[in-house]
């Protein structure tokens, strides 16, 4: 089955990751596509609330603890046709520190889900768990807002992703001594990634080529949420351009979602925003993004970077 796995992530909390994930899922399901939404925000899950669903069992925690045998069994039906949900667990203390083997099992089961579309709603921050889920998707979508704190954390998140990709490849090819060199160099300045690759190409071209190809295989998308004017929309394009030039990754700007005062009202009323406000500019923007992700040739033919997690 042709499966698409999208991960919605980003460095900062409160940028609207769960909002984007829920609404992308709702729109895709309305196009007669089978969708499974997974609340992979291990620290603070609330995707079910955005869909107007009360917490119940089975959930992700039940799968991780073995109460239900498969992730498929934890994916419950929702009131929306074609949309199933794997709810986040309330057993936060246990799940936020996900053991390595549990993470591998979860990633494997996500790939085995009997559905054509999987949307992962990720948590805040740059923990290895979050990064690995983000990197396992094609594409990973970074959600940010037009504020300095959000932009700063977006760059930090992307740098963490880059270092994780490179580290996984270094581990795989048993060139671990390069890792410390990379960490030392990347922290120096904005062009340090270029400097790292340049010096690596001079000393060992074959490893340099492998790592550079791995980096170019990581192609996330960007969504600028809660924009209030043209400047904010253009800011998204600028951020993607800066990322391409300075972080050497091919970032695609999916577009902007305009600020809408109806979003908090829909949330307070426990009603999904997309269902209530289909004609709003924000819903239109979500439709456009969803269709671009779903039908783009780019994402059909592109395979995610092959990442092998090291055995711990």
């Amino acid at each position: 089955m042709d499966k698409r796995i999208w991960a919605i992530g980003g460095g900062k909390g409160g940028t609207g990751k769960s909002f984007v994930a829920a609404n992308l899922g709702l729109h895709l399901a309305s196009l007669d596509r089978e969708v499974v939404l997974i609340d992979a925000d291990l620290g603070a899950p609330n995707l079910h609330t955005l869909l107007g669903i009360k917490p119940s069992h089975p959930d992700l925690g039940d799968f991780l603890t073995g109460t239900v045998p498969t992730l498929e069994a934890a994916a419950v039906e929702t009131p929306f046709r074609n949309l199933r949900l794997v709810k986040g667990t309330e057993n936060i203390l246990f799940v936020a520190n996900l053991a390595h083997y549990r993470k591998l099992r979860l990633l494997r089961q996500i790939r085995q889900l009997a559905t054509s579309n999987v949307i992962l709603d990720l948590g805040t921050g740059s923990s290895f768990n979050t990064l690995d889920f983000f990197l396992s998707a094609n594409p990973g979508v970074v959600v940010t807002t037009p504020e300095p704190t959000a932009i700063e954390n977006t760059y930090l998140f992307l740098k963490s992703c880059i270092m994780r990709v490179l580290k996984l490849y270094m581990d795989h090819y048993k060139i671990r001594d390069l890792h410390q060199k990379m960490l030392d160099q990347i922290e120096k300045n904005s062009q340090s990634l270029y400097g790292f690759f340049k010096s690596l190409m001079e000393t060992d071209r074959s490893y340099g080529t492998i790592l550079y190809r791995a980096l170019r295989g990581f192609r996330p998308c960007l969504v600028m949420n809660r924009t209030r004017g043209e400047d904010d929309v253009l800011l998204g394009r600028s951020v993607a351009d800066v990322v391409r030039k300075y972080l050497l990754i091919d970032m695609k700007y999916l577009g902007a979602i305009p600020f809408d005062e109806d979003v908090p009202a829909a949330l307070r009323g426990l009603r999904p925003y997309y269902i209530e406000h289909r004609g709003s500019p924000a819903a239109r923007a979500i439709r456009q993004m969803s269709e671009e992700l779903a039908y783009s040739i780019e994402f059909t033919l592109r395979t995610p970077p092959e990442i092998r997690l090291p055995d711990v």
Partner: protein, 122 residues
């Protein structure tokens, strides 16, 4: 291709194709100015002021060259002497065991998208 920012050519600096029209160059120039202006949010936490000034200088230089047809022709020739140029390929789709070339769809400009976003009833 791995390149230092200082080595980016004028087209790469303005994020436009080598076949870009004057309008596209103007649009690319405006976008680049918005990205690298003083206090730009897009550079927050990543690019220092000194680096920003240097890039902004090169952007001005790029626009001055590309807006003038004679200077642009001369610059294009200089670029071609350094490396061959292959225009972007048409979109393609996977067919039964072979790749079929499709006519590339007209690309929507960012301005078209922005207009759509802020219109109540398009």
């Amino acid at each position: 291709m791995l390149k230092k920012i200082e080595d980016w050519n004028y087209y790469e600096l303005l994020s436009v194709e080598r076949t870009a029209s004057q309008d596209e160059i103007w649009e690319g120039y405006q976008a680049a100015l918005a990205t690298y202006r003083g206090g730009s949010l897009a550079l927050y936490g990543l690019v220092s002021e000194t680096e920003r000034d240097a890039i902004l200088g090169r952007i001005q230089e790029a626009f001055q060259t590309l807006r003038d047809p004679d200077k642009r022709k001369e610059y294009d020739l200089a670029l071609l002497r350094r490396a061959p140029y292959f225009p972007p390929q048409a979109a393609f789709r996977k067919s039964v065991g072979k790749l079929e070339i499709e006519e590339a769809p007209a690309r929507k400009t960012l301005w078209d998208r922005i207009k759509r976003l802020f219109v109540k009833n398009p």
